[in-house]
Symmetry: C2
Subunit: 250 residues, 2 copies
C-alpha cells in the first residue's frame, strides 16, 4: 500500500468566526486536494490571536504531511500570520529581497511604504509562493504553506503550491442520487459496506422542495471495485425508488 | 466586566473534507452566535472517525462554554456522532422514548424500522432538541449541543438551542467600506487601534473587477465608543479615497 499523504487547513481570521465573512477557501482547497490524492484530515478556524495560531500550527504540522494556512498576511496590524509561523518554527523573520522585488512588479517604488514592506517579511528558511493576482507572495516553511485569505489570491497561490506537494493516488468517487429516504435503505448500505472495505460508502441526506432523498457516494482508489459496489447498490435499491448513477467514476 | 461566553463548532463529516459538500453551517452559526453575544472561538472539521470525534469533542468542551456539533446523526452506518458523544462523556446510550414519539409524528409506525429507530438513540442524561423540519431530534448533553448536518434542519435546531444558552453582551460592529488600498492606511489604523483597546479594528481587503479595496470593521460592546473610533477613522482617511460608513451600528 502506498504511503498516505495527509493535510490540514488552518483558517486564520476573526472575520470568519464573527460570521461577517463566509469562508470559501476550505471547500475549494478540499476539492483540489482530493483531486490530487491528498487526504484532507482536518480543517480548523482560529482567531487572529498569536497563542492560538502558534499552538494550532504546531499541533497540525506534527500530525499531517502538509498544513495550508489562509489569511493574515496583508499589510495591516491584524495581519500576524507570518510572525506566528516564524515563532512556531523558532526562526527569525525579516524583509526578504526577493519578496520586495515581487511587490515592486505591482507597486511603484514610491508607494512601497513601511506597511506594504511588511508583506515582504518572510520567516528565514522559507521559500516564496508567487501570486499572479496581487504579487504579494505567500511562502512555504517546512511542511507549512502560507496563503492569503482573499479567495482569488488564495487560488492563485494554491496553483503554485500543488505543484510542490507530493501527491497520492487520486481518490475516485461515484455518486448515486436517489429519492429514497435513508431510513429505508440503511441496512442494505451497511451490509454492502461491511462486505467491501476498500470502498467507503457515505450516505448524505438532502431535503428540498421535492422532499427527502439521499446521495450515496462510493469512494475508493480502484475504479473497477467502485463500479462493482455501485452496481450492487443499484441492483439492491432499484425496487425502493428512483436512482441516478454518475456516468463516470472520477 | 461580564463573563465572556465562548463557543466552538465541531463539523463532523468526510463529505466536507473531501470537498464534495461545501459547509454552510459554520458561517450561519457564527453569525447567529455573534448576534447573541457569544464569542465563537474555534470551528473545526473532522472526519467520520470515532477516535478523532471523541478527542476533538473532549478538547473543545473543556475549552469553551459551549460546543455545537453538526452532522452524523442520521440513520445510516456512517452516522456515529451520538455514540461518540456518549463515549466522550462516558455515559450509556439507548433508545429514548420521547425521541421515538417525535419520530412517530412524521414517520408511520410501520415505517419505523431498525435504521430509523437509530435516530432515537440518545446518550443517557441528554435533553432532546426538537426539530420542526424532519422531527428526528438533536440533543444537548452537558455543554454540548448535537445538531444535524443538513442546513435547513440544523437551522431549525439552532433556533431551539439558542434559547437554552446563556447569552452575552452583543458584539456590535460598524463597517467602513473603502476603495483605498490597505497598504496606504495601515499605519493610521494601527495607531487608532493602539489608542482604543475596547474596540477591535479589523481590515479585510477585497479584490474585484473595480480593483482592490478594504472593509474596515470596528467591533466592540459600546456603540458610542465604536462611533467615536469610526468617526476618527473616517476623518483621518477621508483624503485617501472614497469611504462608505454603515448608517447603523449593529
Amino acid at each position: 500500500m502506498s504511503k498516505e499523504i495527509t493535510a490540514g487547513i488552518l483558517v486564520i481570521g476573526d472575520e470568519i468566526l464573527s460570521g461577517r465573512t463566509k469562508d470559501k477557501n476550505i471547500g475549494y482547497i478540499a476539492e483540489c486536494l482530493t483531486t490530487v490524492g491528498i487526504n484532507l484530515s482536518e480543517a480548523r478556524v482560529v482567531p487572529d490571536d498569536e497563542t492560538r495560531i502558534i499552538s494550532a500550527l504546531n499541533e497540525m504540522r506534527n500530525n499531517y504531511t502538509y498544513v495550508l494556512t489562509t489569511g493574515g498576511i496583508g499589510p495591516t496590524h491584524d495581519d500576524i500570520t507570518a510572525d506566528c509561523v516564524a515563532k512556531a518554527f523558532g526562526v527569525e523573520i525579516s524583509e526578504n529581497d526577493e519578496a520586495i522585488k515581487m511587490l515592486l512588479e505591482r507597486i511603484p517604488a514610491a508607494d512601497l511604504n513601511e506597511s506594504r514592506r511588511r508583506m515582504a517579511r518572510i520567516p528565514h528558511g522559507a521559500k516564496l509562493v508567487e501570486n499572479k493576482v496581487s504579487k504579494a507572495p505567500g511562502f512555504q516553511l517546512g511542511n507549512v504553506f502560507v496563503m492569503a485569505g482573499v479567495p482569488s489570491i488564495m487560488q492563485a497561490m494554491l496553483d503554485v503550491i500543488i505543484t510542490r506537494m507530493e501527491t497520492g493516488t487520486k481518490l475516485l468517487s461515484c455518486t448515486i442520487k436517489t429519492n429514497i429516504k435513508e431510513g429505508d435503505i440503511a441496512p442494505i448500505l451497511r451490509a454492502i459496506q461491511e462486505e467491501n472495505h476498500s470502498v467507503t460508502i457515505g450516505s448524505y441526506p438532502f431535503y428540498n422542495d421535492t422532499g427527502f432523498g439521499a446521495n450515496v457516494v462510493c469512494r475508493g482508489k480502484d475504479a473497477s471495485v467502485i463500479k462493482k459496489v455501485c452496481n450492487e447498490i443499484v441492483a439492491r435499491l432499484s425496487s425502493y425508488g428512483k436512482l441516478e448513477i454518475d456516468e463516470e467514476i472520477k
